[in-house]
């Protein structure tokens, strides 16, 4: 039943990735996961391994409880899926699964008991003695069940809102002019203000109102965001948080602690900032005029007074009507103001990505047509100089066109990086660790199509770094480090690749423990001596979950192999390095800049040319006769580095006559896919090339073993090999 196994594996991979990004209360997301689990359940019916089905059902049951809000923690779900993955791996290796699943089953089922008690609590909730009516000065009426319900919701929502404000404030500090960020901060304040007024929570209402109106002015451009404003907004957030938490505690204990906090001085200070608004706005224009010597400082003061009386009038207008400055001077000062105040923004147009893809495709066609023209016999033999000139000119235009059309699909990686701010924050909060996030190279560009695919693996790696890398604050202090850990995201271009680094300054990876664990899980293949990087990269092997055994922190289960697979889907590679003496580790992802280009080795078999993707290649060599083995002329093998690897004759697979009948007359390239190695026999390696991938069109799309066509520098077409496909064809033969 290999088909069935493959299906099950597919479901498991989907689950592992989806679960990582699942957020509390994400009903549609949970619906998708539930569907996958249901198909998984159907697909594994009748399977020998009953443990698998048992865990699948437990996971399903737990997910249902999550959906029904009977459980909140998603961790058991992840652990269940990770457990399924390891059962699956044992199954696919025909080994018996020997680990005890009772622990995980209990974790997935234990919520049953909790749930029962929870329900009994719900029952008693109504009877809760809420004589709080008189204890809560903010609420003049007696609390009904509905009020309590609404208050509870207010508490959760407000805390969420306040948290989101804090994150946005970091952006605001970096780009104080960004209207969208100001809006994002304004909105939650507005919500809190609205609900608190409905609930008669006077102090919360008045503080959020003040903060809101300050932001409103900033939004209208009346005041400029500066450090003072950011600080006071932060202070407001903190105070609001305190007050909301008091309500929360009051609800839980039935005792009110509300309004013990004095907010008058804070509100006053906000009002002060609110009032200074006009001055701040007009200062620059006045300053410029004074600096330029068009205007005397004292005159400017008078003008400002004047403007206060008539706030609708623009300062420039007053200056000119008063004759204090010439209109020319004012305009030139205004221009200067604009120059200094705003960065140059390139004009932009939104374009459908489909149109862009067509443009890239058509440019590709143009390149082909052009090279054909260049190599045309008549043109080659012509003596006409002007024709040469024109063709050279077209060459230049075509290559510029190609570069431009490629660059149009590129977007800065910033948005993906920024999503990580929230991820780090939440993780740090949940784990009780202190973690900061630094970013570098956010403007590095990446293919639009890759951005979304990158999100999940990055979340996964960051989570890994916080969970396993960064230590608890006291532990860090003992080690002489800053109690606050730092995760650094870097992006840059190198050699046609985009490189993304995720660095942490945590404890790093423990070589010895990784080796021990890998040995116990039989991941070493009997190899005795491993380099450091080989050891670290063991973490990415399927079956190696970096859970508690390595770091001592409770692991989240889903293995890093999922990340590796996701990155490989983008034709990328992932590498791990760890600095000695607990100075942290670095995860590096290297990916091609765009999915439209592939790096490969161009090789020849007979008259045909093929491109083998570099990612799949391990090595190439000229085999000696004594390295070749065969069983009855059928199963051909090559002995390489003490390993016997099956040989695939590329020519035979594609029905092409190669030059080399005996492997020792040809050349062998060792490739790997999903842990399986194969030697490909070919005639010659022509070089390393970066080629533009072209689809083969509808009719040839399904061709097995070929991933697409590639246009070579000389305009000829080569076929890009699909290694998994090639291995499969060889198996079929």
């Amino acid at each position: 039943m290999p088909d069935k196994m493959e299906k099950i594996n597919g479901h498991l991979e989907t689950l592992a990735l989806k679960v990582v990004t699942l957020e509390e209360g994400d009903i549609p997301g949970m619906g998708q996961i539930l569907n996958t689990i249901c198909s998984l359940e159907t697909d594994c019916e009748g399977m020998d391994e009953s443990v698998f089905l048992l865990v699948v059902q437990a996971v399903k049951g737990y997910l249902e409880r999550l959906i029904l809000s009977e459980a909140e923690d998603t961790t058991p779900l992840e652990e269940g899926i990770s457990c399924l993955q390891s059962i699956y791996r044992s199954l696919s290796r025909d080994e018996e699964f020997q680990q005890d699943v009772s622990f995980i089953l209990k974790k997935l089922g234990s919520e049953d008991i909790l749930n029962e008690t929870d329900e009994s609590q719900t029952g008693s909730r109504a009877e809760h003695e809420f004589t709080a009516g008189d204890k809560m000065p903010g609420l003049d009426k007696k609390l009904t069940d509905e009020d309590i319900q609404i208050l509870r919701e207010f508490v959760t929502e407000s805390l969420e809102n306040l948290a989101s404000i804090e994150v946005k404030l970091i952006y605001l500090e970096e780009s104080p002019d960004d209207l969208e960020t100001i809006n994002d901060i304004f909105r939650p304040f507005h919500t809190i203000k609205g609900i608190s007024s409905y609930l008669n929570l006077d102090k919360i209402n008045s503080l959020s109102h003040s903060a809101e109106s300050l932001l409103d002015k900033a939004r209208d451009g009346e005041i400029k965001i500066d450090e003072m404003i950011i600080d006071i907004i932060l202070e407001s957030v903190d105070t609001l948080k305190k007050m909301v938490i008091e309500i929360k505690e009051g609800l839980e204990e039935g005792v009110s602690l509300y309004s013990g906090i004095d907010i008058t001085s804070l509100v006053d200070r906000i009002e002060e900032l609110n009032n200074r608004s006009e001055k701040v706005m007009d200062k620059p224009l006045g300053e410029i005029l004074v600096q330029k010597g068009f205007l005397h400082q004292d005159v400017m003061g008078d003008i400002l007074e004047e403007q206060k009386l008539d706030p609708d009038k623009k300062i420039g207008e007053i200056l000119v009507t008063k004759g204090a400055a010439g209109s020319k001077d004012v305009i030139s000062a205004l221009r200067d103001q604009r120059k200094f105040g705003r960065k140059d923004i390139d004009l932009q147009v939104r374009v459908d990505t489909k149109k862009l893809d067509t443009l890239v495709d058509m440019t590709g066609e143009l390149v082909i047509a052009h090279s054909m023209l260049k190599r045309n016999d008549q043109i080659l033999s012509t003596k006409d100089q002007s024709l040469y000139k024109i063709i050279n000119q077209i060459s230049q235009i075509t290559s510029t066109l190609q570069q431009t059309s490629m660059s149009m699909r590129m977007v800065p990686i910033k948005s993906t990086f920024q999503k990580m701010v929230r991820v780090v924050r939440d993780l740090a909060k949940n784990s009780g660790k202190k973690v900061g996030l630094k970013m570098q190279g956010e403007d590095t560009e990446i293919d639009r199509n890759m951005v979304d695919e990158l999100y999940e693996p990055m979340v996964h790696m960051i989570r890994n770094a916080v969970d396993h890398g960064i230590e608890m604050p006291d532990e860090r202090e003992k080690a002489g480090k800053d109690p606050r850990g730092v995760i650094e995201l870097c992006a840059y271009h190198r050699g046609g690749n985009i490189v993304i680094e995720i660095k942490d300054d945590g404890r790093g990876l423990h070589k010895k423990r990784i080796l021990e664990k890998a040995r116990s899980k039989n991941l070493l293949d009997g190899k005795s001596h491993l380099t450091d990087s080989e050891i670290f990269n063991l973490v990415l092997q399927p079956g190696f979950s970096t859970a508690k055994e390595v770091t001592g922190i409770s692991g989240r289960g889903v293995g890093m192999d999922v990340v590796k697979k996701a990155v490989e889907k983008l034709r990328g590679r992932i590498e791990i390095t760890s600095k000695p003496e607990q100075q942290g580790s670095i995860f590096t992802i290297r990916m091609p800049l765009t999915l439209a280009i592939i790096e490969g080795i161009l090789c020849r078999v007979g008259q045909e040319r093929y491109v083998i993707p570099s990612l799949a290649i391990i090595e190439s060599f000229l085999p000696r006769e004594d390295q070749y083995f065969t069983v009855e002329g059928k199963e051909e093998m090559i002995l390489s580095r003490d390993e016997v690897i099956p040989l695939i004759r590329l020519g035979r697979i594609f029905g092409v006559n190669g030059d080399a009948m005996d492997p020792w007359n040809g050349l062998v390239v060792t490739v790997e896919h999903d842990g399986e190695k194969r030697c490909l026999l070919l005639d010659e390696i022509l070089g390393k090339e970066e080629v533009v991938i072209k689809s083969l069109g509808e009719s040839l799309k399904e061709t097995k073993g070929i991933a697409g066509g590639a246009i070579m520098g000389d305009g000829r077409v080569g076929l890009i090999l699909d290694i998994p496909g090639v291995i499969e064809i060889a198996k079929g033969n």
Binding site: P28, I67, E146, I150
Partner: protein, 124 residues
């Protein structure tokens, strides 16, 4: 939430519809139509474009789950957010609805607070 959003409230009990409408009103959402069951709702959905369906689960003449399935399989309607209002203890039908692409659910009686939270999530 944008006050212009057009919302269809589906419930066989007029009291429950009023609860929902009252909460929507508190959220400044006045563009609300009502239907008594799934059949009536589908007719209305075909005549007018709604931004949200807020439906009961148990109803005669096409229940909430059947309505959801009909909406999700209609290429014109399938993207309309769908929130179910339900009482405790209708777990099986609700889980079935989640599998069919439900956006969210609310426990009855609907309050402005809980509804507002869900709407914010759905429209964000």
């Amino acid at each position: 939430v944008n006050a212009n959003k057009k919302i269809l409230v589906v419930d066989d009990s007029s009291l429950m519809r009023n609860f929902a409408k009252g909460s929507l009103k508190q959220l400044k959402l006045n563009n609300v139509d009502e239907a008594e069951n799934g059949e009536e709702a589908l007719l209305k959905l075909k005549k007018k474009r709604y931004d949200l369906i807020l439906s009961d689960l148990h109803m005669p003449n096409m229940n909430g789950l059947e309505l959801l399935k009909a909406v999700r399989s209609d290429s014109n309607l399938k993207d309309i957010p769908f929130i179910i209002m339900t009482l405790h203890g209708k777990k099986d039908l609700l889980l079935e609805a989640v599998k069919e692409g439900l956006n969210d659910y609310l426990l009855k009686p609907v309050t402005a607070g809980s509804l507002g939270q869900k709407l914010k999530k759905v429209f964000s």
